[in-house]
Amino acid sequence: MFRNYLKIAWRNLWKSRLLTAVNILGLAVAFTASILLVLTAAREFSFDQFHDHKQQLQQLYISVHHVQGTEERSNLPMPLTPALKQEFPEVKAASRFMDASGMVRYRDKMYGSDVMGVDPDFLRMFSFPLLSGEKQQPLRSLSNVVITERMARKIFGSAEPVGQSLEMYLEGRWKTFIVSAVAEDVPDNSSLEFDMLCRFEHVPAYADQKDAWNSSTHEVFVQLSDQATAAAFERRAKTFVNKYFAEGIRNLQRDGAVPGKDGALIGLHLMPLTDIHFNSISSSGGAISRFYPYMLLLIGIFILFIACVNFMNLTIAGAFSRSREIGMRKILGAFRGQVIMQLWGEAVLVCGLALLAGMAMAYFLLPGYNALFSNRLSLNLLRQPWLLPGLFLVFVLVTLVAGGYPALMIARLNTIKVLKGSLLTGRSNRVRNVLIVTQFVISSLLICCTLIAWQQLNYLRKKPLGYSKEQVISIPVPYNVDAELALTRMRNQLSGHAGILAVTGTDINMGRGRDGSSATSIVSFDYKGREVRSHWLRVDYDYVGAMGLQLVAGRDFSRAYGTDSSALLINEKMAAQLGGMEAALGALLPVEDSAHPQQVIGIVKDFNFKSLKEEIGPLTLNINKEWPLQYIFVKVAAGNLPGYMNLVKQQWQALYPGSSTDPSFLDENTDRQYRREQRFSGIFISAAVLAIIISCMGLFAISVLIMTRRTREVGVRKVLGASVAGIVTLLSKDFVKLVLLSVMIASPVAWYIMEQWLQHYAYRIPVNIGVFLLAGAIALLVAVITVSIQSVRAALMNPVKSIRTE
């Protein structure tokens, strides 16, 4: 019986090769796309899932209810962790986590390396397996380091790393360490990254701050005991906070800050390690909204659904040729169930072929896909326990949707009517039309959404930020270089060259540099009995000029005044906070302490020093050398920008041979802020294009079927004198109507969704009606072309031939 079915299936598929090809190709492409989309989403969901103790691992964060609003951050004071371990028995292990150094030296060769300072518990809590060396207590000694395999190979080549000594650049000095163990490379889906681990005692300013409760510099991770819950911990943490943060709480109370829902002004909280990738509070986290991976899954489902609809429509349309066979089988004694099984089996066969083809294509396309969207996907992701069963489930679902409905429909047909050839076709046409409309609603939806997203990204990239970003080169100063000295030397070195307009320095980059990093520095102080908070930016002379900022009151920093190292420039937002321009100019602000207030000497026009997702906040600029410079900014003339970039690199190399730095223009940096959006929107656009293509493949196949059925009618009409254009219109107009309807349904939905999405941006475009017209035009054009190919073919056919063959 089974062989009989298989034969029938195979011969049927072969007989309608074109439709079969459309079916299999469409489904295969849909499977490929879905697999890639699911892998992309799976990678996001797989972050930090590899830790054996992931259920118990939590990151600590603190919430502070200021007068201006609630601040939540993961940076914590150094004495907190020892106190925590002391007072909370349920904290089984805890580790601080902070950058210790970026530079190591081995036999006079320097290597950039991400060295993190951690507590000895770190390697017990997290699953970063050790390969060789001291596996029990690799960080027992203060002079031990653990190194990853990749870094070890880079530094020591093929030599045995364990026991080697190397030097690390710490706070302006080289210090010697001994490699005690080699760890496996950190998985690519780990939020915590490092090349080397050393003891936390080596992090910058440890000696000064190890007992300071008012300075927050690093992250803290804890492993709770198996029975403990985060909620119980947070309850108990209240007394702990009251004890150690008493002064902070007093200040907040004085300012009239309003406590949060739990009644506390300062709260200590936990978040599961597996959540930090999706969290913007955690510094190590990815701040990726879960919206994106879920969106990818949804689009994957959409695309699969569209391909399923093709399958359904073609099967239903083909049912007329199959119905006679099915009717006869029923007369010969087939149960309805058997007939359904047979038809469903055929769907499984086709879907199976498509799935195999889809998996093969996904396998071969993966490297290209990764390169195109700067992803780092691997098939290892398939090892996630939910993925393969999920895929199988989806496959069964696809066969049920795609094959099940048509099978039921065909099996239910009245045998006698089928054999008499008097089948009513109206109902299945209605189903077909509904399905086509659904397909095009989804496709138009995707087109509309991607168009709007694309417009918004473009707007973000093009919007003037209030400073010159095109002509400013930003040079990150390496760890081991004295930044103040470097700035002076670069000033001297570059001053003679034409086209160099200004050289200055700062401690925070604009946008995101090549290293992908961005930083925020906020100060708060009491002024006139109230707490004032402001972004804090160290700059240097000529910063205002180099950045093209506009001075609206007062003056710029100037070498002519000896006292400017304690002078401040503020922006308009900050001025407003201080009581308006007049009150602000000349105001003495007790930023560090009231004995040494700093004077506001000028006010600059607001500019977007942060990403356009955020409103402009209060900003204070200073040129105090206490805050070390991290970047040198060079303003160059318009014109030969690559030439100036080369000049800057050359001069740097001349001053610091062998030291590597990676300068970039500020506009590259600001673009990089929207990298994630760009990546996702790239994927979305491709998905939308795919959806439209697959929908049109279905439309094409349907029109082939309909044209063959209407050949005779077309022939007769031609004999009666209809023009080719007239016939094409006649044949295409039904489909055009369906597509138009779809666009009309999709537009308001897209408008609503994108209106929601745009709320994430402080600066956004208004959704305009043109987008929907454009999307409609695209969908319509593609559909009309698809259908017309068939209509024109039918219309051009020799009428005599078509009448005869019928």
Binding site: N12, M328, G333
Partner: protein
């Protein structure tokens, strides 16, 4: 074997209904060879479909081998189609995608006949109908007469007790028709299969024992 009591059939047409069969009483005994005759549109096919359990009568009672048909489950009817009833159509209705051999084999597959027996029974029938040479051809590679032979072979391979044939020779030349009729007669006499056929030709009807005249939905 077959007993119809006051059977009627009508189709809905617009808001009214179109009566096709009206108060039919009919008994057919096992082993009979009956021909149904009548003008086009008189309801012959409808009657045959009702006899073959393909359509439900609108009223009246139908006993098949003593059992009331309207009380039968769908499953039971399918079982009868598998074992007791064979059909032959004017348009043959062979399955285009299957070869002659596979077409004949299909009823046995549904009857779950073991593979070796299936082979020998299909071979038997092919042999008997003299179409062994054609067994690997597809229906569209055969003439009408040959297709109908296959249709009959398919109808009898599961050894039914009754065959319903709706104008089996309607599309055939008269010599071809005679071959088919002789085959029916033979099946009726040697295999004791009850045969009910619809025909327009007096000659064909003469092969049977009895003729039932139907006109305007009534038996004359």
């Amino acid at each position: 074997m077959i007993q119809l009591k006051h059977i009627s059939k009508h189709y809905p047409v617009g808001f009214g209904k179109n009566a096709v069969l009206d108060d039919i009483d009919l008994t057919i005994h096992a082993g009979e060879f009956v021909s149904i005759m009548g003008p086009s549109g008189s309801g012959k096919s409808t009657l045959l479909h009702i006899l073959g359990l393909l359509e439900e009568p609108s009223g009246g009672e139908y006993l098949f081998e003593g059992e009331p048909v309207h009380k039968m489950s769908e499953k039971k009817r399918t079982q009868l189609h598998r074992g007791s009833i064979g059909f032959v159509f004017q348009a043959y209705h062979l399955i285009d995608e299957l070869t002659v051999y596979e077409n004949i084999e299909t009823p046995l597959l549904y009857k779950n006949v073991p593979s070796s027996e299936r082979k020998s029974r299909v071979a038997d029938v092919l042999d008997r109908f003299n179409i062994v040479a054609k067994k690997d051809l597809f229906p569209n590679q055969l003439s009408g007469g040959q297709q109908q032979l296959v249709g009959i072979a398919r109808a009898i391979v599961a050894e039914p007790r009754v065959i319903f044939a709706d104008e089996p020779t309607g599309n055939l030349h008269s010599d071809q028709a005679r071959v088919i009729m002789q085959l029916f007669k033979h099946l009726n006499e040697t295999d004791k299969i009850t045969i009910v056929q619809v025909t327009h030709s007096e000659q064909n009807a003469a092969f049977g024992h009895r003729v039932i005249e139907i006109r305007d939905g009534k038996i004359r």
